[in-house]
């Protein structure tokens, strides 16, 4: 199912929150809404779920307004909320509210619970599950609905580090199996790049960039968006440049800088050399076998031009092709 925003404006009281002239979520694809806190990501999700009515414009799921198409949507809130009773009763209620007959409910419940790793928790009180268990149960409830449009708000919040890594690995397959069109909200760049095929970058309620992730990541429209994506911004004689995350390496190359070393940060598994170039404080990861400079020394660092974006033009200009791997 395709979902789209058509000249949508939304405000809480007098405070404008979202202004989206046009935005499409392609059928069958996974899109991540990425942006800092307060950028309007969750509001976009609530508009898609029909929980909010736009002040102007239309939010359409297929050809229907979102507020009239709730049966097409499955939505996992960031905080897993359950009614009292067992997890089984909670999952069953969700399927019952969709009007499914008992045999199908039982089959879907078992399938989603097993796939999400919560089958052994089905007879436990849902409100007493731990953070990670509750998030998996939340996901199982959402995926069991097999809705044409699945919305996930920060699906990896609430997990500990190990659980998060595991979920990050499992989630793409789960989405392929259970979800149709998927829109997920995250404020974490790596999470978005791991999970989504398309990216929508939001800032202050406006879409700054949207499209396939490689395109969006490779061509940030402005320095603020680039900085949010992890680009290192460096003022040069030719204007402001942005270097993609991981682009800077010690030694000479195409886009060269002289780094005035200030400190060496030992991260145990790697070493970061932090210093200033053109007055900007930047950090460069040094490979383990590379000789480390001492503070107050000067070293040459560089980045391949395909990982450098220039912001001197009216529109941002990629110097060459987008990076092969973000």
């Amino acid at each position: 199912m395709e979902a789209r925003f058509d000249r949508v404006q939304f405000a809480y009281g007098d405070q404008p929150v979202v202004d989206v002239p046009e935005l499409r979520f392609a059928a069958g694809r996974v899109t991540a809404l990425l942006g800092p806190n307060g950028s309007g990501k969750s509001t976009l999700l609530r508009l898609l779920a029909g929980l909010e009515r736009p002040r102007a414009g239309r939010v359409l799921l297929g050809e229907e307004p979102a507020t009239a198409a709730r049966a097409s949507v499955a939505y996992a809130f960031q905080e897993a909320v359950f009614l009292s009773g067992t997890l089984r009763a909670n999952l069953d209620l969700a399927l019952r509210l969709r009007g499914l007959p008992p045999p199908e409910r039982r089959a879907r419940l078992a399938e989603a619970a097993t796939a999400c790793g919560v089958a052994h928790l089905l007879d436990r009180p849902a409100n007493r599950l731990s953070g990670g268990e509750a998030q998996r149960a939340n996901l199982a409830r959402t995926l069991s609905l097999r809705a044409p449009l699945t919305l996930l708000d920060e699906p990896l919040a609430g997990f500990d580090e190990r659980g998060r890594a595991q979920m990050l690995e499992e989630l793409p397959a789960l989405l392929r199996r259970f979800a149709g069109t998927t829109v997920l909200v995250t404020h974490d760049r790596d999470e978005a790049l791991r999970l989504a095929e398309d990216l929508v970058l939001l800032r202050e309620g406006r879409v700054r960039a949207a499209g396939p992730r490689r395109e969006v990541f490779g061509s940030p429209p402005d320095p603020e968006t680039a900085a949010f994506l992890g680009y290192t911004l460096i003022p040069t004689d030719a204007g402001l440049a942005g270097v993609a995350p991981g682009g800077l390496r010690p030694g000479p190359g195409e886009f060269m800088l002289t780094l005035h070393v200030e400190e060496i940060v030992d991260l145990v598994t790697s070493v970061e050399v932090v210093g200033r170039a053109h007055g900007e404080r930047i950090a460069v990861a040094f490979p383990p076998d590379f000789p480390l400079p001492a503070p107050r020394e000067q070293v040459t660092v560089s980045a391949p031009t395909e990982m450098v974006v220039s912001f001197t033009e009216p529109a941002p200009k990629r110097l060459t092709a987008p990076p092969a791997r973000p």
């Binding site: 029909g50 929980l51 709730r70 905080e79 909320v81 009292s84």
Partner: protein
């Protein structure tokens, strides 16, 4: 001490032999206080739900007013209803003063703030996202209200217990607007006052025991319902 013992023995005899007057007064207490509590639930639960969920400018002020109402002395509620229903009052034409209906109205006034406050608190204690969850799962308005009420059942049943407990035990309002008329508006509490002033301690103790037993039985049933976990 002997008087108390004799009183208790006589009280159990009255209860055991099914004393007609005792049971008719107890039945009247149950009818008046039960009706008042039911009406208070009918009005107080929706109002409490609104105060718990909705956000509007005068909300805090109304919550404060409800809180004040919770502590209203029954005799003041009785006085207000008496002033309204007395023959020369604005609603005197309805000829309700010194009737069971007048007692129900006065007790309704006492129980309603308690029901509103308990309901609002129990609705506010629910996870904020719960109504949104039910909406996205596709529950209609009535289904949503039912499921939310089920979630808030601890508070809602506490509202019934608090409301019923307050009105079944009050004496001031019943006396003021009911008049304690024998065979008509005399309830257990007003009967206890009357028998005590007549020094008929056996009957006063018997009425007291029945009142306690009645309150306990009702609260016990509600507590069992309240503590039963839903499937």
């Amino acid at each position: 001490m002997e008087a108390i013992w004799d009183g208790l023995v006589e009280a159990f005899r009255l209860i055991g032999t099914g004393d007609g007057e005792l049971f008719s007064i107890a039945g009247r207490s149950l009818l008046v206080s039960g009706s008042a509590t039911a009406l208070a639930m009918l009005v107080g639960v929706p109002l409490g739900y609104l105060l718990g969920r909705a956000r509007f400018p005068a909300r805090t002020l109304i919550l404060a007013a409800v809180g004040t109402g919770m502590g209203m002395p029954p005799v003041v509620a009785g006085l207000v209803i008496w002033l309204l229903l007395v023959r020369s009052g604005p609603f005197g034409g309805f000829e309700l003063i010194y009737t069971k209906q007048a007692m129900i109205i006065a007790q309704f006034l006492i129980a309603t703030p308690l029901v509103i406050a308990f309901t609002a608190a129990s609705i506010q204690a629910l996870p904020a996202r719960l109504p949104d969850l039910l909406a996205v799962l596709g529950a209609g308005k009535l289904r949503t209200l039912w499921l939310l009420a089920r979630e808030a059942r601890l508070g809602l049943l506490a509202a019934v217990m608090a409301g019923f407990g307050a009105v079944v035990s009050e004496v001031g309002a019943s006396m003021a607007v009911g008049g304690n008329l024998v065979g008509d508006t005399r309830v257990l509490t007003t009967a206890i006052v009357t028998e005590t002033s007549r020094a008929d301690t056996e009957r006063a103790i018997a009425y007291g025991l029945v009142l306690l037993a009645m309150a306990f039985a009702i609260v016990a049933v509600l507590t069992v319902v309240q503590q039963r976990s839903p499937r």
